[in-house]
Symmetry: C2
Subunit: 338 residues, 2 copies
C-alpha cells in the first residue's frame, strides 16, 4: 500500500515481472487492504497460481513518525509484510512506503546481520560512466568510523551481487584526496577503510563521483542524503535551465526536434526506475525500499533485484565478510568502554 501510486503500480509491476519472466518460480504476496487489491487482480488471472493476498487494513503514512511503527500500526501492510520476512515465509520484502518506518520495523522485527550495528541505504546512481553506489544515502545521520567501514564492506558485496561486478573499487567521500584531509570522522575512518575494505582506493572528492572513478562512494547518511537529493535537484534544474535558455533564442528553439534523441538517451540513463529500489544493507533479510513515486517499471525492477540478490545469497555473503572483520568490532567496543 506504500508509495504515491499504490496499490495499482505495485500490482502492475508484479505482473510485468511475471510476463517478462514466465519461467520464474517466484511467488508474490500482495500485503494490503484486500478490498482495494482484489478487484485489481482480476485482469491478471493467468498468473493467479503465483499470487496471493494477505489482508492488512492499515496503512503507514508518509508523514508518520517511524519509531515503534510495529507497535502503533501492527495491522499495516508494511508491518505485516516485514513480519512475513521475520517468520521466514518470504525471502524478500519490497515497499515504496515511508523509509523511516520501513527501516525501523525491519530493524525491530528482523534485526541486523550479526556484527552489523547500523543498516544503510545504498542506491545505485546511474551516470554515463556506468554509475556508482552511494552508501549510506540517509539511514544514519550521525556515524562513527565502524559504520562507514561496514558500509564499504556491505556495499561491495551488494554491488557484486546486484551488478555482477567483481571486486568493485571503494572510495571515501572527502573534501580532499590526501589521507589527512577531512573532518574528524573521515580522518579517523581512513586507516580502518584501508585495513578492512577490499579495493579501497582512498578519498574521493565530490567533484569526481560522477566520473566513474570509484564504484562505491562511502559516506555518512547526512552527507549521502544531501548528495542524493542534490543530484535529483541539479539534474532537473539543469534540464529546465537548458530548455529555458534554448527557448530564449528563436534560432536555438529550432533545435528542439533535433535534440530529442539526445535528450531521450540522457533521460534513460538518469532513470532510477531502471534500477528498482535500494536494499537496506545490514538487515538480516532482504528489504528493498522502492522510491515513493515508483511506477510499475520500478516495482518490476525491484522484484528482479530482490530475486538476484536472494539467489546470489547477499545476506549470507555480507555475514561472512563481516565475520572476517570482527576484530574491528572488538576494537570499537573496547574504545567505547575506555
Amino acid at each position: 500500500m506504500g508509495g504515491d501510486n499504490a496499490p495499482l503500480s505495485n500490482i502492475e509491476g508484479a505482473f510485468q515481472y511475471f510476463k517478462e519472466n514466465e519461467n520464474s518460480s517466484t511467488e508474490i504476496i500482495f500485503v494490503g487492504n484486500e478490498n482495494d487489491i482484489t478487484p485489481l487482480l482480476s485482469k491478471f488471472s493467468e498468473f493467479s497460481s503465483k499470487i496471493s493476498v494477505l489482508h492488512a487494513p492499515d496503512v503507514v503514512n508518509m508523514d508518520e513518525s517511524p519509531a515503534k511503527i510495529h507497535r502503533t500500526k501492527p495491522d499495516s501492510s508494511m508491518v505485516k509484510s516485514v513480519e512475513l520476512l521475520k517468520d521466514g515465509r518470504v525471502d524478500a520484502v519490497i515497499s515504496a512506503g515511508n523509509t523511516g518506518a520501513l527501516l525501523s520495523s525491519s530493524l525491530f522485527l528482523v534485526g541486523t546481520i550479526p556484527g552489523i550495528r547500523r543498516p544503510a541505504l545504498a542506491p545505485f546512481i546511474p551516470t554515463n560512466n556506468g554509475g556508482f553506489i552511494l552508501c549510506d544515502a540517509g539511514a544514519n545521520v550521525d556515524c562513527r568510523y565502524i559504520h562507514l567501514v561496514h558500509f564499504g564492506i556491505m556495499a561491495s558485496a551488494y554491488m557484486e551481487a546486484f551488478l555482477g561486478k567483481k571486486n568493485p573499487t571503494v572510495g571515501l567521500l572527502n573534501v580532499g584526496s590526501e589521507e589527512k584531509k577531512g573532518n574528524e570522522l573521515t580522518r579517523t575512518t581512513f586507516p580502518f577503510m584501508q585495513e578492512h575494505v577490499n579495493n579501497f582506493v582512498g578519498n574521493i572528492e565530490a567533484r569526481y563521483i560522477l566520473d566513474g572513478k570509484v564504484d562505491i562512494v562511502v559516506c555518512d547518511g547526512f552527507i549521502g542524503n544531501t548528495v542524493l537529493k542534490f543530484i535529483e535537484g541539479v539534474i532537473s534544474h539543469m534540464m529546465t535551465w537548458l530548455k529555458e535558455s534554448i527557448n530564449d533564442h528563436p534560432i536555438s528553439r529550432l533545435s528542439f526536434p533535433l535534440m530529442a534523441p539526445a535528450f531521450k538517451d540522457m533521460k534513460k540513463l538518469l532513470d532510477y526506475e531502471e534500477y528498482g529500489g535500494t536494499p537496506f544493507l545490514g538487515i538480516n533479510g532482504i528489504v528493498i525500499k522502492a522510491h515513493g513515486s515508483s511506477t510499475s517499471k520500478s516495482i518490476k525492477n525491484s522484484i528482479i533485484s530482490a530475486q538476484k540478490i536472494c539467489e546470489r545469497e547477499l545476506i549470507k555473503n555480507i555475514g561472512e565478510r563481516i565475520s572476517a572483520h570482527l576484530d574491528l568490532m572488538d576494537d570499537f567496543q573496547n574504545e567505547q568502554k575506555s
Copy 2:
C-alpha cells in the same frame, strides 16, 4: 604570486579594473617578486601613480602545509600582503593562492572580529534563479552550533554589502524540512538560528538550493565544500554528457550551431569569474580568496568586490551584528565549561 596564472593575470586584472574605473581612488600594491612583476608593469605606465610593488621573494605553494605559514614563509607574497592589512596600510588583500595558508595567516596576523570563533568561506553560486551564498564552503570541517549561527549572521551582512539585497533569507542545509530532522548538529542548531538569525526560513534540502528558495545556505564546511565541489563536477559532467549524447545522433549533431546562443547564456550564468573571489567572513579585515585558476577578469571582479564591501563597511557591520548576539557566545562558553 598565488594562483595558476600569477603574476600575469593578477596584474592584468588590476589594470582592467583601473581602465574600467578611471575615477576610482583605489591604489594597488603588487606583493611578490619584483623581478617577475616589474617587467610586466611597463605597458601599463598610464596608471603608474596608482600602483606600487612590495618585494616578497618567496611564494607559498598550493601543496604547502598551511599551519604557521607566517613563521615558515615570512617573506612570501602571501604573508607580506596579509601583514600590510594587519598594519593598516591596506584596506583589503586579494590572493589566488593556497586557501588554507591564506586563512591561517589571516587568522594569526589579523585575527577575527570580536566574538567570532571561526572564519568561513562564503562563495556566491550563480544560478538562473539569481544565485545564493553557501557558507561555510570549506574553512571549518567540524562545527558546533554557534559557528553555524555566526555563518548565518555574517553571510547575511555580506550579501547585503555585496549584492545590495536587504534582509536576505537564510536556510539551514538539512536532510528534511521539519525542525526535528537532521543530524545532531543541525537539530541542535535550528532553535539558535531561529533566535539569532534575521529572516531564518528554516531547513532547506539540497534538492531545492538551486531553485532560489533561499539567498543564503548555511552548513558546516565539510558538507559545504562537498556541495561546492559537486556543483563544479556536475555542471561539467552534464555539459560533457549532453554533448556526447548529441554527438551520438547525427540528427542531433545538426543542432550544435543552433544551440550555441543557449549554451553561451548558460556558460555566462555559471561563470564564477563574474563574481570574483570569496571573502573570509569573520576575519577582522577584508581578505578575498580568488579561485586558484582565476583569470584577469576574476581578479578585476575581486577588486570591485573588495571595494564594495570596504565602502559598505562590512567588517564593522558584522561586528555590530555579532555584538547584538553576545548572549549566544556566553551560553556556548558556559556549556563548554559545564
